[in-house]
């Protein structure tokens, strides 16, 4: 047994869409039976890119979450399919049989990741196959992984500790919070074989300004964040900017900005969205 998987490092993804377009080139108009029927022109995003704009001017961020079929270990689409129209191969790849799945629209709706697309003309559900037709011919990796220029995608056997993907996952897991390997939406409970590093959470940004010295940036000012059972202390950077990244969503945090000789600034935030506090002006006590 094996478990083919893809690891996507979102910190390295530049949103070039090479993976999406390579997928389209491989599958548009090309049948690879018995694994997949041709991808039609419209409505098919086997490698969908979720572009996420975060934060407010002038401190925005952008992230991309490539979102193919997750090839889940506990795949809801398999459970939803009749006549074994969706099955898992011994190598872990989840395949929708283009013949048996005809008319089974419920397979589309079974996927919490919206990774299955309905082909209206053929009346079949379709999705990423990890290019199994190619892997079976001896190719090393799917087209999406092959086309990635920035080293953001790894492909291999998750169950083989000597594989590159397993090695990278192990190293990342040892490296700390920012490179934590995780599933996208683990709450769905489907145990995906596509894993991620750097799924964006929430961040709060701001700029410290000193009321009596606004012509100079307020660097090295102490900023404390408390909440969700953690406390972080940082110093503002050379521009007076500060940022706390990787906060939990929809959570209360307290931020304190303090400097000797200035009134301490305190605020409560709730991370419904990413936040930019803008200029945080510390008033001089002199």
């Amino acid at each position: 047994m094996a478990r083919k998987g893809i690891l996507i490092d979102i910190n390295r993804c530049t949103g070039c869409y090479n993976c999406f377009l390579a997928c389209r080139d491989e599958h548009f108009g090309n049948d690879y039976l018995p694994f997949s029927a041709a991808q039609p022109l419209n409505g098919q995003f086997w490698m969908r890119i979720n572009e996420i704009e975060r934060g407010k001017f002038p401190r925005p961020k952008v992230a991309y979450i490539p979102n193919p079929c997750m090839h889940c270990k506990a795949a809801p689409c398999i459970a939803a399919a009749k006549d074994e129209a969706v099955y898992k191969r011994p190598d872990g790849v989840v395949v929708i049989d283009p013949v048996k799945s005809k008319g089974q629209k419920e397979i589309v709706n079974a996927c919490p990741y919206r990774a299955i697309h309905w082909n209206d003309e053929m009346q079949i559900p379709q999705k990423c196959t990890m290019c199994v037709h190619r892997l079976d011919e001896g190719e090393r990796e799917p087209r999406c992984v092959e086309s990635c220029p920035s080293g953001a995608m790894y492909f291999g056997d998750l169950d083989d500790p000597s594989s590159e993907i397993a090695t990278v996952i192990k190293a990342a897991s040892n490296a700390g919070n920012s490179s934590k390997v995780e599933a996208f939406h683990p709450e769905y409970g489907t145990d995906p074989s596509v894993l991620y590093i750097g799924i964006p959470k929430r961040f709060v940004a701001g700029e410290v300004v000193l009321s009596d010295n606004s012509g100079e940036c307020a660097h090295s000012v102490k900023i404390t964040l408390e909440g969700n059972g953690e406390k972080r202390v940082i110093l503002s950077d050379s521009y007076g900017d500060f940022e706390f990244e990787g906060l939990e969503k929809n959570t209360d945090y307290k931020i304190t900005v303090e400097k000797d000789g200035y009134a301490t600034y305190k605020t409560q935030i709730f991370t419904k969205t990413d936040l930019n506090l803008g200029e945080v002006v510390l008033s001089s006590l002199k």
């Binding site: 390295r12 993804c13 530049t14 949103g15 070039c16 869409y17 090479n18 999406f20 377009l21 390579a22 389209r24 080139d25 491989e26 548009f28 108009g29 090309n30 022109l41 995003f45 890119i49 572009e51 704009e53 934060g55 407010k56 001017f57 002038p58 401190r59 925005p60 961020k61 952008v62 087209r143 092959e146 086309s147 220029p149 920035s150 080293g151 300004v209 606004s214 012509g215 100079e216 940036c217 660097h219 050379s238 521009y239 007076g240 900017d241």
Partner: protein, 839 residues
Amino acid sequence: MTEKVFTNCTNAGPVSVYVKDGKVTRVRPLVADQKDFKPWVIEAGGNKYSPKKKFNIAPYVHGERRRLYSDERIKYPMKRVDFDPNGERNPQNRGKSAYQRISWDEAISIIASEITRIQNTYGGSAITGMTSSHHNWGIVGYKMGPFPRFMNMLEFTPVFDNPDSWEGWHWGATHTYGFYWRLGMPEPYDMLGDALQNAEMIVFWSNDPDTTRGTYTGQDSSLWRTWLKEKGVKTVFIDPFHNFTAGAMEGKWLAPRLGTDTALAMAIAYVWITEELYDKEYVKNRTIGFDEFKPYVLGETDNTPKTPEWAEQESGIKARVIRTLAREWAAKRTILSAGARGGEGGACRTAFGTEWARMMVLLQAMQGLGKPGRSIWGTTMGAPSDVDVWFPAYADLQGRMSTAKIAKHRPANPTKQRLWRLTLPEAVLNPPVSWYGEGFCGQSLEQQFKHFQYPMEGYSEVKMFYRYGGSFMGTLSDTSKWVRMYQSPKLEFIVNQDVWYNSETRMADIILPACTNFERDDVGEWGACGGYTCHASSGANFRIVVREQKCIEPMWESKSDYEIFTLIADKLGRKEEFTEGKSELDWCKAFFDSSDLPKLIDWETFDKKGYYIINIKDDYKPTPALRWFAEGRACDTPDPNNPKRTVPEKANQLGTFSGKIEFASESLRQYFPDDDERPVSPKYIPSFEGHHSEIFKKYSLQLLSPHPRFTFHCHYDKHTDWLDDIPVHRIKKDGYAWWPARLHPSDAEPRNIQNGDIVRLYNDRGSVLCCAVVTERVRPGVIHSYASSAKYDPLSPGNADSIDKGGCVNILTPSRMVSKNAPGMTPNSCLIEIEKWEG
């Protein structure tokens, strides 16, 4: 079914083309034998940096198959229905009338007889013609191949290209540090190694390399920036748009008001001068004219010290931020990345954009340009590269069939008359026109001061326009004037030859279908432009020369450009003169034989295998760009077009008149000493269409229209509908793929514009419909919408003043040049208003 795999190359990467039963089924990054790669290794900070054994092509190249079979292909020769060469020509209906299919025989007969008639009536100079760039790859079939060879035979009036992507560098930076033989770009040698080993900070100023990709080298440099980010090199992005490189690298973002970058640069110089944070020894020994520059910065000549507070008023960037940036720049080894090739960037395509480009060079001079980690580098070229193996590139004289020594017949054009691309419509509609500058002035600084007037004495005005390609509605400036030009009766005959229907195609009288480089034989090196961008293939991790194999027969009735010109030449009785009896494959082999490749691989093997990878030698020694100059040594970089390099007493000099970096330009002083728009020493001059302009009261939004992310200029847009599923590129709504226009919520809200609304961008020059993208990534007061839509879709076809639905935002941009003596385009000096479009 039989499958065959061919090799080919594109303008953004080498590919393997899979063909089954005569149909292309897959276009994949070229699959090379792993044993053919010998990756270089750069050691820095205890790490070893080395690329994977693969080619990272640009996104749109993955859509090549779709473009090949596009419904937008020109399939047959066509004639405008109301064009009769022997009767009514109805030029006023160009852009409006329908077309009918005609035979190749008829098309060639009409063209040949029109050429003959016009030559006999007015002389060869009455014929003009020009190509678009970048739509295919391969030196045999490229625009500099068959087209000029044929047109020179006709003794036509050539149209000078303007340096559209790097105006300010061409017309400005050359007078500051030379490099006219690179049209104002710095040499790129070994800058990747320098960055990894020495840089502590990179200032990306008006530069989005993840989008513009070092011109031709696809995504190969993407990994370099990943390395630099993960190495902890700090980054700063100065751009009114939070661009895609900024998104990937997550540095400090400064969003100045458009057209004020020079003010920002002056304030940085002010901080350095007043706080003594510049390299005084370098300024003393490697530059001249600092004593003329410094008093202006300090305000001694105009009572306006260029303080950060002053620059804050102009640019909107806080004075404290400018101060901090200046100090960090001086304190850290900082690379200035001011455009994809070092220079370029939207800030140089503005009113007085020369001044910004000159300031970029001068700022870096104040920090010791050429010293370790203190370069001007776009982050897209300068990988270790073996330049000793020579293979011709399209812009090399030896890479063009009209000028290469391999040609027995090299047709020289005796016609001295010239046209200027940006003013071709004015030249036709309202002559005379005049300008300074001999096009791409890569031979000398003096070329920029040469005066031209059209029509030239002794020559005819142009009567026939042979247009190859045609995307100007989306790529030049104030482009509705092109519709007016096309409808002029003064143009008696217009041909358009192209692979796809582009924005100008349906303005012609006769349309000819050309084929792609997948349907003919060619040869070419990935990323190599040659000529004025010598050694550009160092933007790729591996040099690779590709035998571009004919994968399928030309589709429908399309033909290769070479064959089309052969047919016309034959009709004119000049076939032998044009072809020398050579097929395209013969030319491929002749170019190959003229190169260094035969020492490394024989033709038969190369022809069959389809590629050759040129790896670096084991004893490769880096020669970082401009290190020689900084250290006062003779030039040791392999820049063959540097004319001083081989002159012993001048080998340590730059290409300026003085041989040094010029804070006060000796070349400008000699030729235009009193020019207040491109002064001897650079100045900040408020934009002629900016926030100080009278018209700002009426049109208060600034249009920023940079080079696009998912196309190569216009190419691949419109003809590759897969791209329409990328919302950064186009947005599908109500059955139409709209061009996005990005605006800040604070501009959207008072205009009642919601994300996804169709909006009209307009000013006195025209109106363009786009799809609104409301975003925090653009500075308030700025509308960001990429240039280069290929789709000109006027609601009222044939009416130059029509609203365009296709997204050609350059309809809105001004005709006015960079300055009175610098004839560059200024699309980023454009004021508009925007409203929700109710239809």
